[in-house]
């Protein structure tokens, strides 16, 4: 039989390592690709004393190279300090897998982004962010650009799903142009909170969805 991927990619695709969710994760992120609609979630457990990654898990809604990259990147990151893990690139992942088709770069780079975002999430939660700039509406919008709507394959900002963002005394209010019973409302809600709640000066995130549709 002939497959479009090398043996190593296929092995990680068939039997991905470190699959799952860590319920009490110290850092986590869900990232999506506007190009193809793939998504990756990364969960971290980090030793607070030396900031070393003690456990890492991932989930994937994606193609073979997306799953294989999630598997290899979690293998590469395990046991590294967060500063070391941040340096892991798509090239490192691709090399460790014995090469990936270039056309698949956009879906496999997601796992790398997921790892970096999960580390940033950990740093923010643990007060490790070096410069404490006050949060602005622009910064909130920038972060919302990494929340995907799986129905359209677009992020919620470019997909025009954010109708308004307000920031008042640490409370962020976001209006989302989706009914609250939308098939992916729960995912989107969770992802938005995940991105915004971790900002050091944000105390509360209020989300306003449209009324449920019959």
């Amino acid at each position: 039989m002939r497959f479009p991927y090398g043996d190593k990619v296929l092995e990680h695709f068939k039997n991905p390592k470190n699959v799952g969710k860590i319920e009490d994760a110290d850092g986590k992120a869900i990232v999506g690709s506007p190009a193809c609609g793939d998504m990756v979630a990364v969960y971290l457990k980090v030793n607070e004393a030396d900031h070393r990654i003690t456990d890492i898990k991932f989930e994937s809604y994606g193609c073979a190279s997306n799953i294989a990259t999630g598997s290899i990147i979690t293998e590469l990151a395990k046991g590294k300090t967060i500063d070391e893990a941040k340096e892991i690139s798509w090239k490192d992942a691709s090399e460790a897998l014995g090469g990936l088709p270039k056309i698949k770069a956009h879906c496999s780079v997601l796992a790398v982004e997921g790892l970096r975002e999960a580390i940033t999430n950990y740093e923010e939660k643990h007060g490790l962010v070096k410069e404490k700039k006050p949060t602005t509406v622009d910064e909130i919008k920038r972060r919302l650009k990494s929340v995907m709507n799986p129905l359209t394959g677009l992020d919620i900002v470019r997909g025009n799903l954010i109708t308004d963002v307000k920031l008042e005394e640490g409370t962020v209010s976001i209006w989302v142009d989706l009914p609250e019973n939308h098939i992916f409302a729960a995912n989107i809600r969770e992802e938005i909170k995940e991105r915004i709640e971790t900002l050091w000066d944000v105390k509360k995130v209020e989300l306003h969805f449209r009324e449920a549709q019959a």
Binding site: V19, G37, I103, L151, T152
Partner: protein
């Protein structure tokens, strides 16, 4: 490794041995060209074989042999239909063409190419099942409209359009009508003695015939410009050496498809659809439940991605295709799935099972079992709502 289960017959089929046997003499014995009919006896044999094949194809459509233009396949046939009519009527009648958003690429990209040449094209939307609205079609046809091109059935979701009604409408409004019948030829009855169709695209590769052979049915009197220049073959509509073994193979392949076989494919299709919708949670049928070709099932498995499914199936010896963006060279999600429901997630997890002569009910059952396993496994690692999909 068990024998492969090939369910990608809309893309291409295995050649039937009987077709090869019919073609063989024209590869090794009578290999002359038909235009040599006045030159030598081998040329006469070639000419007879070609015209015999043409007659045989014409009979399947209840049309006349001179209405069958042999081509290199459905891509060329549809190019000839659209560009040929454009060439013939642009100066005389107008520059407007009507088609649909879910056509296959030969029609869609011929229309786009004509747009770049200054033609105006209306791309009709379809409903959730893939059907064109006849009222909308009627309103789109103007004085300037030279051609309406609506596929008989869809290449991905199998929905069958009411081409009799569409054809009548075109007649009333004075526009020519082309139907791409690549996936319905011999899978349904085409009686062109009564069906109001002016041009129809046919292909051999979908019915266990040779690749690289097709035909365009051209109703007598239909104005059509020639754009493949060279010799005077095919009623001076399509230049080029006649593919005689191909034509003979095409005719044989057409002859071998029976209503009994179509009924058998229907039962395999229904087994797949019924079992998959019942036994796998969070699934959606793409296309019309009843108005669909006998050989197509297309289902979206939500929360998982199609290329991952096809690769897992391939490892189990099962060959299917998907409308996921990750699967396509262009990285664009299926324009058909987007056209019927408009969302990326539905295209992402869509799988097309297209059947052929060598598929069986047992294979359908094996595919269902494999799907249950593969989808469960991929949902296990998906971050999207897997609780509800188990």
């Amino acid at each position: 490794m068990p024998e492969a289960i090939y369910m990608d017959n809309a893309a291409s089929t295995r050649l039937d041995e009987r077709v090869l046997e019919a073609m063989r003499p024209y590869l090794f014995e009578s290999y002359a060209v038909a235009t040599s009919e006045f030159g030598h006896s081998m040329g006469i044999e070639a000419k007879e074989a070609l015209e015999g094949a043409r007659q045989s194809l014409a009979r399947t459509l209840r049309s006349s042999p001179e209405e069958i233009v042999l081509t290199s396949g459905d891509t060329e046939s549809s190019n000839l239909a659209l560009k040929g009519v454009a060439l013939a009527l642009a100066a005389k009648k107008g520059r407007h063409i009507v088609t649909t958003k879910i056509e296959d690429f030969p029609v869609l990209n011929s229309a786009r190419a004509l747009e770049r040449q200054g033609f105006e094209v209306t791309y009709l939307p379809v409903d959730g099942q893939g059907l064109v609205d006849l009222g909308e079609l009627e309103r789109s046809i103007t004085e300037e409209t030279i051609l309406v091109s609506v596929q008989h059935s869809n290449q991905e979701i199998g929905t069958v359009q009411d081409i009799a009604a569409i054809g009548r409408l075109c007649r009333e409004k004075g526009a020519l009508f082309h139907a791409d019948a690549t996936h319905t030829y011999r899978r349904t009855v085409h009686d062109l003695s009564s069906l109001p169709v002016d041009l129809m695209t046919l292909s051999a590769h979908t019915i266990h015939g040779p690749k690289g052979v097709g035909a365009l049915y051209v109703r007598k009197g239909t104005p059509l410009g020639k754009w493949m220049d060279g010799g005077f073959q095919e009623g001076n509509l399509r230049a080029g050496l006649e593919n005689i073994p191909g034509a003979v193979g095409f005719a044989k392949a057409a002859e071998l498809v029976t209503e009994e076989e179509n009924q058998r494919l229907r039962s395999i299709r229904d087994r797949l659809i019924d079992r998959l919708l019942r036994e796998v949670a969070s699934t959606t049928l793409n296309g019309h439940r009843d108005r669909r070709v006998p050989q197509n099932a297309n289902i979206t498995f939500h929360f998982v991605e199609g290329e991952s499914i096809t690769l897992h199936l391939d490892m189990r010896g099962i060959e299917v295709s998907t409308g996921s963006a990750c699967f396509s060279r262009s990285l664009e999600a299926s324009h058909v799935i987007m056209g019927i429901g408009g969302d990326h997630e539905r295209a992402h997890g869509s799988i097309r099972y297209s059947l052929g002569r060598y598929n069986t009910l047992e294979q359908a059952d094996a595919v269902v079992e494999a799907m249950r396993e593969v989808v469960a496994r991929l949902r296990e690692i998906s971050p999207l709502r897997k609780e509800e999909s188990r």
